[in-house]
Amino acid sequence: MSASNYATERETAEGKVFTVTGGDWDVVLSGTDPINDERIVVNMGPQHPSTHGVLRLVLELEGETVRELRSVVGYLHTGIEKNMEFRNWVQGSAFVTRMDYLAPLFNETAYALAVEKLLGIEEQITERATTIRVLMMELNRISSHLVWVATTAMELGAINMMLYGFREREYVLEIFELITGLRMNHAYVRPGGVAQDVPDEAIAKIRDFLKLMPKKLAEYEKMLSGQPIWLERTQNVGVLDATGCLALGVTGPVLRSAGLAWDLRKTMPYCGYETYEFDVPTHTDGDVWGRYLVRLAEIRESLKLVEQAVDRLRPGPVMVADRKIAWPAQLAIGVDGMGNSLEHVAKIMGQSMESLIHHFKLVTEGFRVPPGQVYVGIEAPRGELGVHAVSDGGTRPYRVHYREPSFVNLQALPAMAEGGLIADVIAGGASLDPVMGGCDR
C-alpha cells in the first residue's frame, strides 16, 4: 500500500491540504518544502523610513526572496486638483507647488506654461522671465537629485552621504530663499512670468555655488563610486530595461539609465532649452548603479545650464506687459512685514483710476482664460511632468490634472523587485525616487 493512502493531498486556493489520518507524519513532511513553501506576507509602511514618505508595500516573501509586491498609495492624497477648481488661476501656483515638494519649481513652471498656452500668451513671456525659470528649474533639479543621492545612500547604509547631500541642498535652498522668499512651496513662477526679479546677491551666491558644487560632486564620487558595499548594493539591482520602462510609462533618469536618451528638454523643448548647451547622460545597464551615475551626471549638466542662464540674464521685465494678467510685481517688504509695492500703491491710489480698477479686478476676481484644453509636459527630476488643464472661460481652472512622474514610475516597482531579495526592494524603490506628495497629490 502506498503511503499516500494515509494522507491524501489536494490542491486548494490556499495551497496544498493534507488530510491526515495519523501515523503518517513522514509523508506529510516530505510533501512540503519547509524552506520554499513558507510564504509570509510583510506589510512595509506606510510609516517606514525608507519609503520616502507614506508609501505602503505589501510583500509576499519566501525566505528573503520577494515573490509578490504590491504598492499601496494614497496616504498623502490632499485633493489639490479638486481644490484648485475653487481658486482663481493665479492661486493655482500656490497649490501645485505643494505637490512634489522636492521639485516645487517644476510643478509651478509646468502649470504656468499650461495656463499661458491656454491664454495664448507664450510669445509674450519675457526673455528674462524664461531665463529665470530655466535657472530656477535647474537649481531645483540639483537640489532634488541631491536629496535623492542623500536618502538613497542612507537607506543603503551610507549615513555620511546623507549629511553631505542635505548640506549642499541647503545651499540651494538658501538661494531659493534669497530669490523667492521661501525655501520650499515658493509660488514663484506665476502665469505670465515670475513673481519677483532675481536680486543681485542671489546671482553672487549662485556663482559661488557653481564654484563649490563640482568639488563636492567629486567628493561624493570618491566616497561612493568605488565603494565595494555601494557597488554590491546597486549593480545589477532593480534592473528595468528600456522596453519595460516604456510599457510602464517610466520616464526620467530611470529610462535614461536603461539607455534611451529621452529628455523632453532635448526632444520636445520648452522655455528655450534648445538654445542651451548641455548633454543628456545615459547608461546602459538599467540598474540602480546606472541611475546613480545618470543622476550625478545630470547634476553636472544642470550646473552647466545654470551657468549659461546666469550669463544670459539681461535686465528687463519679468512679467508680461498685459496689465490684465500681470500681477503687480516688484514687491518690497513693508513695515508690516508684508510684501508691498509702494510705487504701485501710490499709482493706484493717487494717479490712475483705471489702474485701481484693474488691480481690484485682478486681485479679487482674477483673469479669465479662454475655454479649451491643453497638455504641457516638462522634464522634471523624476521624469515627464505633465499638466492637463481645462478652462471653461472663467476665472478658475475647470480641471487641472497632473501627470506625476512619481505616480506613474511607482508602477514599475513590482517589475523591479519581484524575484529579488527584500533588501533590494529598498534600493529599487529608492532608485525610482518617488515623492509621495507628488504621487498622491
Partner: protein, 245 residues
C-alpha cells in the same frame, strides 16, 4: 455676507442659458461656464444690486477642424485612417486647438484605436503619457470624458484621444493591455470620476480609501470643508464663499 445655509436656488437671477456645445450628441466642445454662464459673483442668495447678475458671457466655441489641419496632424490622421478600417465610424470629431490635435473617439473603440496608434509603423505612439478624467456636467449628456495623451518618441509627436461616457453607463474598454502604464491612471480616473474600465486587471480605488463613497472629482461632488473663525468673523469653506466666477 449671508450664511451659506440661507441661499436659495434662484435669487431673482435669470434662468441658466444652455452653454455652447450642450448638444448631447457630439462630445462637448466646452465645459459649462460656471453656473451656466450666469452672473458674475457666483452668489445665488443675496441680492446682487450691482447689475452684473444678468450678464451672460458669449462663449467662444471650439469647432471641429477642417483639413488641412496643419503640421503633422494631417499625417497622423491619414496614417490612422489607412491603418484602421473603422476610422470613419470610430472617430467622432477632429479638433485642432492651440496647436494640439484631439481625436474624439467612440468609447467602445478606444482600445482598438490605441492598439493601432501604438503598433502602426507610421504612427508609433509608444508612450501613453497621461490618462485623465474631466466631468462636463451640464454641457454634455455623456458628461464623463477620459483624455489620453499619446507621445510618439520616434516621430516626436503628441496626440490627444478623448472619449465620453454617460454617468449612467460609464463603461469603456481598458487600454491596459496596450499600454500597461494605464493601470494606475485608469484606477485614478475610476476613483475620482467613477468611469469603469472594462478589462482592467484590478479596478479598485487608488487615492481615496477603499470604503469611500462617491467620486470626489465629479462636479456635483462638494468640495467640503468647515467654516473657520478668524478674528471673530466666520469664514465659510471655499466652495461656499461669495466670489467671482
Amino acid at each position: 455676507m449671508s450664511a451659506p445655509q440661507d441661499r436659495t436656488d434662484d435669487g431673482g437671477v435669470p434662468v441658466p442659458v444652455t452653454p455652447a456645445g450642450a448638444t448631447g450628441g457630439a462630445p462637448a466642445e466646452l465645459p459649462p461656464s460656471s453656473p451656466a454662464g450666469r452672473g458674475m459673483f457666483g452668489d445665488q442668495g443675496t441680492g446682487d444690486v450691482s447689475g452684473y447678475g444678468g450678464l451672460v458671457r458669449p462663449q467662444r466655441s471650439i469647432e471641429a477642424a477642417t483639413r488641412p489641419y496643419g503640421g503633422y496632424f494631417d499625417e497622423v490622421t491619414d496614417a490612422l485612417e489607412e491603418a484602421y478600417p473603422a476610422f470613419g465610424e470610430a472617430i467622432e470629431k477632429v479638433v485642432v486647438d492651440r496647436g494640439e490635435l484631439t481625436l474624439h473617439i467612440r468609447p467602445e473603440r478606444i482600445a482598438e484605436v490605441c492598439q493601432v496608434m501604438r503598433d502602426d509603423l507610421s504612427l508609433r505612439f509608444e508612450l501613453l503619457s497621461s490618462v485623465s478624467g474631466v466631468d462636463y456636467l451640464g454641457a454634455d449628456a455623456r458628461r464623463l470624458h477620459v483624455v489620453y495623451q499619446l507621445t510618439s518618441m520616434t516621430y516626436r509627436r503628441q496626440v490627444r484621444l478623448e472619449t465620453a461616457v454617460s454617468a449612467e453607463d460609464p463603461h469603456l474598454p481598458s487600454v491596459t493591455s496596450v499600454y500597461p502604464t494605464a493601470d494606475w491612471q485608469e484606477r485614478e480616473a475610476y476613483d475620482m470620476f467613477g468611469v469603469i474600465f472594462d478589462g482592467h486587471p484590478g479596478l479598485t480605488r487608488i487615492l481615496m480609501p477603499d470604503d469611500w463613497e462617491g467620486h470626489p472629482q465629479r462636479k456635483d461632488y462638494p468640495l467640503g470643508g468647515v467654516p473657520v473663525e478668524y478674528k471673530g468673523a466666520e469664514i465659510p469653506p471655499p466652495d461656499r464663499r461669495r466670489s467671482y466666477q
